[in-house]
Amino acid sequence: MSGPLQPRQARGLAQGLGWFSIGLGLVEVLAPHRVTRATGLEGHERLVASYGLREIATGIGLLTTRDPQPWLWGRVSGDVLDVGTLAAGLRPGNPERDRSGMALLAVLGVTALDLACALALRPSRKPPLPLSAYRRRSGLPRPPGAMRGAASDFVVPADFRTPDALRWPAPAGSR
């Protein structure tokens, strides 16, 4: 386990986030004016619509992929964009500052979910055994130094032999 979620729970959550992404994306694309009014971002409808396309693409990716992790990190990156855009709405002169603040809180909540899900599905590179266990796996009955040349009874077939002139050390009499 790599976070507060078990990988199996995280896979389920990733599916949910995929559907959420598509739903939100459709609203942003089809009704950008309603979104900008609700979030205090009036005048930025084209930007919101483009975010909607991003959400739809990410949602489709999450629902169709065998490995949702890259798409989840894509969502986290998108969340950072959303946070940046909404934070601009918190400027002192904005009459819709409260709405921007509420929207920002909501996006931060979703970001936390995206992040937890991506971390839970992060592949573990940590070996299940300590390295010392691998160092004991020689496959040899004695220490390697004692096994050096143990197969010297093997006769290399003629078609695998190095020509004498190319052997090391050089044959006696050569320069």
């Binding site: 390295l131 496959g139 090391w168 050390p169």
Partner: protein
């Protein structure tokens, strides 16, 4: 029966398929007791090997019990315990008579295609591309073995599957890699890649008497296992391979170099590999030959390069002029498995080596698809996966 089938790039599934049947008097059917995922299966998994078809059964490291034999198979009977070599061979053609089983002239049932692509056909292989016959593989509950009177290694009871299974491929492959070097007692042998074949090449070079064995990789558990086998290790993510090899050979370079990596060299470790990866993406190159380039550069002049690592097609920016001027000898090819297995089985029985050291994961067949990813991404400390159908 259940079998692991290829359905496209990174899409292996455990499917139910019809049981195999005797199709020719020289066939046998075996009930698989153990099989394994090989590094070269990953080239199919990642879509780097042309000639795969949707539904192909994977796997070429297989052993089991003979279930049925064709009318022309007189040296096997029901109940015999056999390891199946990954190379299918007739035992009668010019190449087989010379012991060159991996280039058998008769076992590739798609010979006409292979003749066109390779110039001349090579042997049929289990669970591999249709350029090598497209024979159903052994990651399954049953396997049909063509030319079964030759294509088998009879093994005794009383030794666990895990100790014998790798006679099918990776042990003789590592062994042949070392034999191709014709190792002398003063030789330094440098081995790129500490995956399963690399581990056996390390131990083979040691047993054959190399003065020094140097192993190159970046995965800590693989380097640790290489050290266990007597190798001096170089972590290429921390040290310069060229500088360290020169330090360890008094500036002369290793006399013998073995490439146990092949066409999928780590894509982001070096600038030339990144270049290769970009060319692969736009289909201007099929393989990433970083290891070949490095071996040509560091090898001592008049040395030998042994290449058991699998290459698939077209390689770019290979410094062949350097290799020519240094007078390097190249030895390569798929493994002539049965040429070595009598000797290797004897060494196992005598206790000279226990090949099961390399196994890190043992799971049921149905877990195979997940294990491809685990093995490919070197997750969970994975070095070798054995599947139990």
């Amino acid at each position: 029966m259940r079998a692991l089938r290829w359905h496209g790039k990174q899409d292996i599934r455990c499917d139910t398929v019809p049981d195999p049947k005797i199709e020719h008097p020289r066939d046998a059917i075996i009930k698989v007791t153990s099989c394994a995922i090989c590094g070269s299966d990953l080239h199919l998994y990642d879509g780097f090997m042309p000639g795969m078809e949707n539904g192909d059964i994977m796997g070429h490291e297989t052993m089991g019990i003979v279930e049925e034999v064709g009318s022309d198979v007189s040296n096997l009977k029901k109940g015999d315990r056999v390891v199946i070599p990954f190379t299918i061979f007739c035992g009668e053609c010019d190449q087989c008579r010379r012991g060159n089983f991996s280039v058998c002239e008769r076992s590739n049932r798609n010979k006409s295609v292979a003749d066109k692509v390779f110039g001349h056909t090579t042997a049929g292989l289990f669970g591999y591309t249709h350029l090598t016959g497209g024979y159903p593989g052994g990651q399954a509950e049953y396997l049909r073995v063509p030319f079964a009177d030759k294509t088998h290694i009879k093994v005794p009871g009383g030794i666990p599957d895990e100790t014998l299974l790798f006679l099918s491929d990776i042990f003789p492959t590592g062994w042949q890699a070392a034999v191709q070097c014709d190792i002398q007692r003063d030789d330094t042998v440098a081995i790129w890649g500490c995956g399963p074949v690399g581990q056996f090449a390390i131990r083979s070079a040691l047993l054959l008497g190399a003065k020094q064995v140097i192993a190159i990789d970046r995965v800590p558990e693989r380097l640790a296992m290489a050290e266990a086998g007597g190798a001096t290790v170089i972590d290429f993510s921390k040290d310069s391979v060229v500088e360290r090899l020169n330090e360890l050979t008094r500036g002369k370079g290793p006399e013998k170099c073995i490439d146990c990596v092949g066409l999928e060299a780590h894509a982001t470790a070096t600038i030339d590999s990144m270049y290769d990866r970009a060319k692969q993406a736009v289909m201007l190159e099929t393989d990433r030959p970083h290891v070949l380039r490095e071996m040509m550069y560091v090898c001592r002049p008049a040395g030998t390069l042994s290449i058991p690592g699998v290459y698939g097609g077209l390689l770019d920016k290979v410094p062949f002029g350097m290799a020519m001027n240094k007078g390097l000898t190249f030895r390569m090819g798929q493994t002539h498995v049965n040429r070595w297995t009598d000797d290797l089985l004897r060494r196992i029985e005598q206790g000279q080596i226990d090949p099961s050291f390399v196994i890190t994961h043992k799971v049921g067949l149905e877990e195979g698809p997940n294990m491809y990813k685990t093995f490919r991404d070197k997750l969970d400390g994975c070095i070798k996966v054995v599947l139990k159908p």
